[in-house]
Symmetry: C2
Subunit: 133 residues, 2 copies
């Protein structure tokens, strides 16, 4: 950054910080991601076939254009504690840039196909949507 | 990769895949991260002070050496649906390289201090530990 640029940047930052001018998102400000945590309990938790089908269905969600990152998981063999719920079958974690991205995902044909193909496999699902502080 | 290297690699892969020899983690295999999802319900959900104290305490967890990534969040304003639980106060998501990293975190003095300082703030906590498939 040239000295002049730097001076302009600092000056603009100060004004933005003080809320005196409106500006575009600053590069120095970390993005607040929207996290979509989903936990599935299979109707037939001992069926390897049902598990494989659900995992395979979840993989298709990567194709939705607003999905920034995805983690598909199984309960980890951490210490058993009263606060740890390891009764679920599969976890799914998706990252979006914003609420609009999450909404686009909900309505995307790939997501709707996943529900149509796999919705009969689970008996319970809990969703926690969070946004970075 | 040279032809000879490639042949050796493929041969080793085949043996590893067949479980016939033990080998180090292969560079081509994506790492299976351990995710530690925690949801907190504050005793006083309307207290901004308690919320700030919990958020501040959670920030200290970044200092634990086995924590690879952290997301501290609040319920996001996504669509209200019966499967979405937005009743929690704060979410915390930590990434570890492996189960050993998660165990180290549990026993780390920074984590223990967080529990000592903030444990009285919440009335309920649910933990889901998952490992990438």
């Amino acid at each position: 950054m040239k000295k002049q640029d730097r001076r302009t940047f600092l000056s603009t930052s100060a004004l933005l910080g003080a809320g005196m001018i409106a500006g575009p998102a600053m590069a120095t400000k970390p993005k607040k991601m929207v996290l979509h945590h989903v936990f599935f309990w299979l109707k037939n938790p001992d069926s390897k076939e049902d598990l494989a089908k659900l995992l395979s269905g979840l993989q298709t969600l990567k194709g939705i254009k607003t999905v920034r990152n995805i983690h598909i998981g199984l309960p980890a063999a951490t210490e058993e504690r009263s606060v740890v719920d390891s009764s679920y079958s599969v976890s799914e974690l998706l990252f979006f840039d914003d609420l609009a991205g999450q909404k686009t995902y909900q309505d995307d044909p790939i997501h709707l196909k996943f529900i149509a193909d796999c919705g009969h496999l689970w008996e319970k699902v809990i969703v926690y949507d969070s946004i970075d502080v």
